[in-house]
């Protein structure tokens, strides 16, 4: 009986542990995501639109999940230094320049977490450490 009870308690603690672990990650994601929404509104929305829809053939939409996944580690550099030359987004060519943005690494992480998990994208959390590592190897 006593053994069963102890076993039960251990199992319960284990379950709680897992739940709290998960929610820690969840909390971190939500924190990045919701503050990223504000960075987006301030720095990105005028051009890329409220729903990441872009503007005709002038400004690309942010809904090309394949492009974002493929270029995930280059995205912080695009935001920090701007982007020139032509890119293909959702099968269409865009060749206008994006200006550089004076954002801190944590702001870049937040806004990329927001963009990477909005508009049909599912990139998960992009945290500050990842952004800092990526920024060190910008071309």
């Amino acid at each position: 009986m006593k053994l069963k009870l102890t076993g039960g308690i251990i199992a319960l603690v284990f379950v709680l542990f897992i739940i709290s672990c998960e929610s820690d990650e969840g909390i971190e994601f939500k924190r990045y995501y919701s503050s990223g929404a504000l960075v987006y509104q301030t720095h990105c929305q005028n051009c890329h639109g409220e729903k990441g829809e872009g503007l005709s053939a002038l400004i690309p939409p942010l809904s090309d999940s394949v492009f974002l996944r493929k270029n995930k580690s280059a995205l912080p550099c695009y935001l920090k230094n701007g982007l020139k030359g032509s890119i293909i987004i959702n099968g269409k060519t865009f060749d206008d320049a994006m200006p550089a943005n004076d954002l801190s690494p944590v702001e870049i992480a937040r806004v990329l977490t927001y963009i990477g998990n909005s508009f049909g994208n599912k990139l998960g959390t992009i945290d500050e450490q990842m952004v800092q590592a990526d920024l060190r190897i910008c071309k």
Binding site: N46, C47, G49
Partner: protein, 220 residues
Amino acid sequence: MKNVLLSGFAAMFLWSACSSDSADKKVLPIFGNREPVTKMVNGKQVTDTIYQTIPPFKFVNQYGDSISNKTLNGNIYVVDFFFTTCPSICPVMHRNMLTVYNTFKNTGSFKIISHTIDPKHDSVPVLKKYADKLGITGNTWWFLQGKKEDVYTIAEKNYLVAVKKDSTAAGGYVHAGYFVLIDKQKRIRGSYDGTDPKQVDQLIADIKTLQNEPDEVIVQ
């Protein structure tokens, strides 16, 4: 008896609601300076009001065609000021202007004109490329280029919109994102924040009101 009275009131209420609706037809205000002018018509003294109108101008559109005030005769038009390399409010302005364009592109006697305030960079080919990328075809929406002084003067003195060069602003220019509505008599009938979708909806409603304005009302 009570029922009869009640239905009587109800009928009166309904009638008044209906009549006030039809009497309350919306008329857009006329903006700008105005001055009364007294003149003799058929031996009688008549006082009339002269409203501020858009004076003669001449610019070139994205196809290289000359566009003057005369080209716009008989048109209702919307004006804004932008430049193609604008990093701040222009994309959102033209995203909203696209809604106006798509609403009215197939109705006659309607134009949109977008003046570049950076004519040095925004040459005719640059404006054509911009229009193409925005998805603009035909002759409803013109992107106009001309002398910088002319653009700045017409913006401030005539369309009552401020633009100026400022090296501290993003992109090097300060400008307000207004859409200005001009009627067939070249008078200013409205001014809207082109970055606000709600005000742009109002602009679309006001253009429809202007289109329905009977000619005798707008004859000066």
